[in-house]
Amino acid sequence: MGGGKERIEKGRRRVRGLLALQFKNGVNSWEDLDENLVGSCFPCGGILVGWLISPLSFPSSPPPPQRIQSSESKREPNQHQPNPSQPPPPLLLPFLHLPSSYDHSFIAAVVVEGNQQQQQQQQEVEEEGMTVEAEAPFHVLAVDDSLIDRKLIERLLKTSSYQVTTVESGSKALELLGFREDQSSTPSVSPNQHEIEVNLVITDYCMPGMTGYDLLKKIKGSSSLKDIPVVIMSSENVPSRISRCLEGGAEEFFLKPVQLSDLKRLRPHILKGKSNCKGQKQQQPQPENNNNNGSSSSSSSSSNNCSNNQSNKRKAMDAMDEGLSPGRTRPRFSSDSLTVV
């Protein structure tokens, strides 16, 4: 049992490495990719059923599902060859994360269909996939001079499954973010060791010294920080203040006291922020249509500063519906089957 899992992992790593290599060498077409992958030889005898790559990387649509058999699977007669008309129970290997130095930012999902022997590993891998899902929650930096409000926002954010850091002032926030004054024009080269990775900043407006608005402007004026979404909170409902903040680049303006329901509005901004960094998308459990086709994969791989903040632990998101041209028939996937063809 354990051996099987290892093999899957090995296979996974092999594919990942191979893909990385290919992009580095300038793979230009689907055919090139596939040919190289045939040799990747999933040790579990799986079948590569398809690819999804963001439209930025290849202009043409992906190839039809290929049946690629590893040499191992040839040796082991598989009595349970899937019926092509029926989507087979899959093993999903969500994994690919390429460093920002690559030209293409892409998301690929490989569905490996295990043979009968590996069916039992399926559960484990899926669970593993689920665990990966739970890794690296979004990190929010909350700024407020009020101790009570810091405690409150921290609890609100934690309850909503965010990782939280609270600070009492704008200057402390900038310090944590690794803000450097002279960075207004040049992108950051390498991350400061003391920087923390932050997916969203939520700040009070009225603070002594640096106001929330001042903090917002500093963040948006910094090449390394400008893509971090900023939300402003205030106890006062002043329309001119609100519009000033929104015009200054704030994503949202919350009236205090902030409530759990307000926090739901954070998620799209965090995800958009991540998307701007790496062309990555939110994992959608039931993507039924192609309405996201190319819409959010921005070419802002120039904001590699964001990626400097991303740890290698960050998993790739499976944006299953990216890159497929409309009209293609494909099985819809749900969170339990995790099939993509």
Binding site: D145, S146, L147, I148, D149, K151, L152, R155, L156, K158, T159, C206, S235, K256, P257, Q259, L260
Partner: protein, 151 residues
């Protein structure tokens, strides 16, 4: 059963705090945030609040005593105080803060002084009531989260 009596008492106490306007909806929001991970969240926040508000009230008192004409300073203190009262749902106290702030804006010292006395009283009353409430809750033990007093 003594236990269910205590629970009823606690529920009744909470209900009166709401009925009499000491607490508002925001207090329920705090309760919503209390769970197994943070089982004493409400009491912790309230404790923090009273510590912080006592400090601010003391600051206001000193300012009124020493430099009463510096209304902007008074305003700044009461702004902070009002923010905290709003965050925990201390409705009556929050309203008193608003009145005090209005007098500050008008630069009405007499109004400020009168309002401040009321503010201090409200603060003391709320503190005593909430202390009793939490004391009772502690005797009762972990109560299930009710959004409304169900008894």
């Amino acid at each position: 059963m003594e236990y269910s009596n205590l629970r009823r008492q606690a529920a009744y106490m909470k209900k009166s705090l709401f009925d009499q306007g000491y607490l508002d909806e925001q207090f329920y929001q705090l309760e919503e945030l209390q769970d197994d991970v943070s089982p004493n969240f409400v009491e912790e926040v309230v404790t923090l609040f009273f510590r912080d508000s006592a400090r601010l009230i003391s600051n206001i008192e000193q300012a009124l005593d020493k430099c009463p004409q510096e209304f902007s300073k008074l305003n700044a203190f009461v702004h902070q105080l009002k923010g905290s009262t709003s965050s925990i749902g201390a409705s009556r106290l929050k309203n008193e803060c608003t009145r005090f702030r209005d007098y500050c804006d008008e630069e009405n010292l007499e109004g400020c002084l009168k309002s401040f006395q009321k503010l201090k009283r409200e603060h003391a009353v709320l503190r005593q009531k909430l202390e009793s409430y939490f004391q009772l809750l502690r005797q009762v033990g972990p109560v299930e989260k009710a959004t409304r007093p169900s008894m």
